[in-house]
Symmetry: C2
Subunit: 331 residues, 2 copies
C-alpha cells in the first residue's frame, strides 16, 4: 500500500487564492477490486473554472489529469496505457473504470496521436480544445470574411479559438493581458490584430481594428471588456460566453456597463455554454484538430510547472494570466 | 391648403425629456399627386424606443399613428378608411402609398376588427402586440408549466407578453413599478405573481415566487433588474431582450452586475430583437390575438391623453411609467 497525496482547500479563497489556502493531505489507497485501476498522475490541469468550484474547506481541488495506469484489474485498461480523467489534484488515485457515482465521467484512454505529447489531452486535444471548437463553431457559426474577437486570447481556450477562426477564413482580433502575449498571437499564431487591454482603450482599439464592427465574440472574461466588445458588434452578431475570468477573484459584486441596449439595437445573440454539452462529439473535434496540428495550421503552447507540490503556484499564476497557452503541472 | 403641425426637438434631452425640449412647427402641405393620400391623425403612439432615436435638434419626433384618409389620389386607399403608418408626431401628413424612400414602410389599411377600437392598431394589434407575440414565442419558445418573468410588465408590450405566456400554459411573474400596476396584473390580467421593484428586493421576491428558477425572461428594462433575473434563471433558460428602458434617460454610462457568470453556469441564451424582423408575419399574429381578445383570454388597456398639443406630456409620462398598458394620444 502506498500513500497518495492530494491538495485540499485549507481556507476559503478571499480574492486571489494564496499558496497557504491549500494543503497537502496524505491518504492510504485501498487495494484494487475488480474493474478498478491505480492511476499515477503525469500531468495535472489547472484551469480558470476550478476557481469557481471551491466552496468548502477540506474539499479536494478538482480538475482533470493525464495519468499512467500502474495497476489494473480491468482488461480494457492495461498497465502502461494512459487515461485522462477528472481525478483532481492527486498524485495517485484508485478509480473504477465504470464509475459508480453517476456524476462522474469514466476515465478515457488517451488515443495514439503519434508524436504529439500526452499532455495535449489536457489542452488542445482535451477539454480546452473541445471548448474552443464547439463554443466557436456550434454557437457562433462564423462565416469566411467575418470578424471574430476573442478575449483571454492567449489562454488555453482563446489561443485555439482564434486559430480555428483563422482556419475558417475569418479575420481574428485577440485581446490579451501582456505585450508578450500580443506578440505571440500576432507573430506566431497568425492573429490579424491583437492588443493588450491593460495598456490600450479596448473600445478605441476595436474601432480601429474592426471599423465595420464585430460579427462574432468568443468571451472568456466577461465584465467591462466584454461590454466594450458588445458595444462594437455588428447587426445580428453572435456571442459565445465561455467564462467570466475577470470576476472569479472578485470580492464584491462585479459591475460593468449595461449590455442590453446593444443587444436590442443590433439584434445580438449571446449564449453561455459548458462543453460537456457536446461530450459525445469530442472525438470528432480532436481528430480534426490533431490533423490541423500535423498540417501546421494549428499551433499550441504549454506553460509547464514542474512538481506536484507546485500545483497551487501553477494555478495562481494561471489565474494571474502568467501562462501562454495551456497551463499544466508535470507531476 | 391647410397648415399642418408637427413636433420637433427644440433641444436635445438631458436625462428625462422636458416639455420645453419639444416645439410645434407649422408647415404648408402640398397638393396631392397621383398615388398620394392626406392623412388626418386620430391616435399618435408614444413609445419608449422614441427616446432613443432623438439625436438632432429640429428633427421631427418619430412614431406610428392611426390616421383617417381625408383626401386620396389612390384607389386602394379611399377617403374615410384608416391607415396605420409611421408618420411621426404630426396632425396632418401627405404621403405616397408606395414610399419613394426605401427606408419607409408603406401605410397599412387598418383591417376591420369588428367592435374593437381603431387605436388598437397602435397597441395589442400593432407593433407592441407583434413585439410581445414574436419576442416571446419565436425567441423564447415557452413550454407549458415553465416559469416566465416579464419586466415592464404593465406596459404596452409587457402586459401582452404575460397574458400570452398564460395562454401558453406558463406560470407568469410580472415586475412593474407601482402597486397599482401590480394589482392590475394580478387581479385583472391573471398574472400568477407580480411585484413592485421599487419597494421589494427583486432577487428575494423572485426566489420566493419561483424557488426553482426562471425558464424564460422577457426583458423590457435591462440594467440591475435584469441582472437580478438572470442570476435566478434555470439551466438552459432563454432571455428575450426587447428594450432597456432603465437606461434611456441615463446621463452617464449605466452599470449593472455582470451577467456572464450566470450565462455560462446555466448555459443561458439571450437574444435582442427588433420586431420588424417578422413584419411579413404580423398579420397572422394580429388575427390570433384579435381572436383571443374576443374570447376574453387577452385583455388590453390604454392610457389615453387627449389633444395633439399634449403629446410631449404623454411621452414623458409614459417614460416615467405612469401608464397602464398602451400610451396613446387622441388627436
Amino acid at each position: 500500500m502506498s500513500k497518495a497525496r492530494k491538495f485540499v482547500i485549507a481556507s476559503l479563497f478571499k480574492g486571489e487564492p494564496k499558496v497557504d489556502d491549500f494543503s497537502i493531505e496524505k491518504e492510504e489507497l485501498p487495494s484494487l477490486k475488480n474493474g478498478q485501476i491505480l492511476c499515477q498522475a503525469e500531468y495535472i490541469s489547472v484551469d480558470p473554472y476550478q476557481r469557481v468550484y471551491t466552496h468548502k474547506v477540506g474539499a479536494t481541488m478538482i480538475g482533470p489529469q493525464v495519468a499512467r495506469i500502474v495497476e489494473s484489474r480491468s482488461p480494457e485498461y492495461p498497465v502502461g496505457r494512459h487515461v485522462v480523467a477528472s481525478l483532481g489534484w492527486r498524485d495517485q488515485t484508485v478509480i473504477s473504470v465504470v464509475p459508480t457515482d453517476g456524476d462522474t465521467l469514466p476515465p478515457v484512454l488517451v488515443p495514439d496521436y503519434g508524436d504529439l505529447p500526452l499532455s495535449l489531452a489536457l489542452g488542445v486535444l482535451g477539454m480546452p480544445g473541445a471548448t474552443a471548437y464547439f463554443g466557436l463553431l456550434d454557437i457562433c457559426h462564423p462565416k469566411p470574411g467575418e470578424v471574430v474577437v476573442v478575449s483571454g486570447a492567449a489562454g488555453a481556450v482563446g489561443s485555439i479559438v482564434g486559430q480555428i477562426a483563422r482556419i475558417k477564413g475569418c479575420k481574428v482580433i485577440g485581446i490579451a493581458g501582456s505585450d508578450l502575449k500580443v506578440k505571440w498571437l500576432k507573430e506566431e499564431l497568425g492573429f490579424d490584430h491583437a492588443f493588450n487591454y491593460k495598456t490600450v482603450n479596448v473600445e478605441k482599439a476595436l474601432k480601429e481594428a474592426a471599423p465595420n464592427g464585430v460579427d462574432v465574440y468568443f468571451d472568456n472574461v466577461g465584465g467591462e471588456q466584454s461590454s466594450a466588445v458588445v458595444a462594437n458588434m455588428r447587426h445580428r452578431g453572435r456571442i459565445s460566453v465561455c467564462g467570466c475570468i475577470s470576476t472569479y477573484n472578485a470580492t464584491k459584486v462585479a459591475m460593468a456597463p449595461v449590455v442590453q441596449m446593444h443587444m436590442v439595437r443590433k439584434e445580438l445573440k449571446m449564449e453561455g455554454f459548458m462543453v460537456t454539452r457536446w461530450v459525445d462529439q469530442w472525438d470528432k473535434a480532436f481528430k480534426e484538430m490533431a490533423q490541423w496540428i500535423k498540417e501546421g495550421k494549428l499551433k499550441y503552447r504549454e506553460t509547464v510547472t514542474e512538481g506536484f507540490e507546485n500545483t497551487p503556484d501553477a494555478f495562481i499564476g494561471m489565474l494571474r494570466g502568467e501562462n501562454l497557452g495551456k497551463a499544466v503541472v508535470k507531476v
